[in-house]
């Protein structure tokens, strides 16, 4: 007879306790890109992707630098000390090398010692995968407080002369602290709706360590406008909610037209007219796994969202991979 393994007592639910972000100071406008000799115009970029400007990191500003700053701010926002964090998860797909990972260095620099520390690479879906993993870890009893960070330096992997990518991708980091919901409180993070479309693997690729990001824009666009709204609706259904419950829709900030297409489908499914739709891409560009927490933090600073709001998050990108969940904002 095999030995009986004990499990830790499960916890009913997790919630987001704090939020923080970091954007590089250097702003690149559409006119700056055109002035560099790239064959494009401000009007074309605004029409096709909706971006007006983006932030790019300096040569000496790394993924980990941004992750540390965003993570420390989220900790302060949650009112927790580094010693209270027992897991650090960094969603990233733009580290300069595969080892060491970002999470271990980030934890060390924030002052979190001896914690679980691992990276998640699900490209632009990475933050939602990280949030889902954090929630599951807390519910299973393997961690009490988890710092989840999306951090990217896409400018390292973009050909500055490729007009199909250099206008889109940008740098930044966003972070949340996740902890247990109070026993008498409802959970603040719903079940994850996630999956992958491996048949479309070739549509967003960095071929090897000497290559840049290459994207089949039209194919990815079609996939995003048809397949992602159903993922968002599935996340709501798993949480026992409907589209009318959503206060703020935060899709990955890939392209303003994709965001609008998803919002339109959400409204057709019953979302309210006053549902706030994240449009942080306009000023921040596409920052992959950082885009959702960046958008949340910016919208909170602007007063467009508040504590207790129900936010529907959905990430999607290379892999192709996707993930989403409903959350209550801290």
């Amino acid at each position: 007879m095999s030995p009986r393994l004990r499990q830790l007592p499960p916890i009913a639910g997790a919630r987001i306790l704090g939020l923080g972000s970091r954007q590089p100071q250097h702003i690149v406008t559409n006119a700056d890109i055109a002035a560099r000799g790239v064959q494009t115009t401000d009007e074309w970029i605004r029409e096709r992707v909706g971006i007006v400007e983006r932030h790019l990191a300096r040569e000496d500003e790394s993924v980990v630098d941004m992750a540390v700053d965003a993570g420390a701010k989220a900790l302060a926002d949650a009112g927790l000390a580094p010693a209270e964090i027992d897991a650090v998860l960094v969603a990233t797909c733009t580290m300069p090398s595969p080892i060491p990972n970002a999470a271990g260095q980030t934890a060390e620099r924030i002052g979190v010692r001896g914690a679980h520390a691992f990276d998640i690479n699900a490209a632009c879906a990475g933050f939602c995968y990280g949030l889902g993993t954090a929630s599951d870890m807390i519910r299973a009893g393997s961690a009490r407080h988890v710092l989840v960070i999306g951090a990217e330096k896409l400018s390292d992997w973009v050909d500055p002369t490729d007009r199909s990518t250099c206008i889109i991708f940008a740098d930044g980091a966003g972070a949340v602290v996740v902890g247990p919901a109070d026993p008498d409180e409802r959970p603040g993070i719903g079940p994850i709706a996630a999956g992958s479309a491996g048949d479309l693997v070739d549509t967003i690729v960095v071929a090897n360590r000497h290559s840049f990001i290459r994207q089949e824009g039209q194919e990815v666009y079609r996939w995003a406008i048809t397949e992602i709204a159903p993922v968002a609706l599935r996340a709501l259904a798993l949480a026992g909610l409907t589209a009318a419950d959503v206060d703020v829709l935060v899709p990955h900030q890939a392209n303003l037209r994709i965001i609008e297409a998803i919002a339109k489908r959400m409204r057709a499914a019953g979302a309210r007219d006053d549902m706030v739709v994240a449009d942080d891409i306009v000023r921040s560009g596409n920052t992959s796994s950082a885009s959702i927490p960046l958008a949340l933090d910016h919208m909170r600073a602007e007063g467009r969202v508040g504590s207790g709001d129900l936010a529907l998050l959905v990430g999607f990108g290379a892999g192709l991979s996707y993930a989403g969940q409903a959350v209550v904002l801290p």
Binding site: R139, Y221, R234, G240, L241, G306, D309
Partner: protein
Amino acid sequence: MTAAAQPLPRIGTMPRDAGSTPITGDRQKGPMPVTNEEILRGLAKIVHEVAGIEENEITPEKSFVDELDIDSLSMVEIAVQVEDHFGVKVPDDVLANLKTVGDAVDYVAKTT
């Protein structure tokens, strides 16, 4: 909006074997059209909705890109809606060859 005064929305936790049944979106299949005129009317409605062009401007000889000034992403949106409405497949390689409104009507007519 903030909801400080309202109760927090109830977020359920997933039943152990909930599976992952996809939720159907807002797609609606229209009735199967029989004439080219009906296809044109359905297509014009879609083009109007996606690109904001008046339906009476959308005539068979007009080219999508050069005359109606529709960009490639809007063409993808039109293709997706044509697929939903007429129940046909419009893959990217086919879409690239649909230069005029008439090309699209003929494609739908021969594919339905």
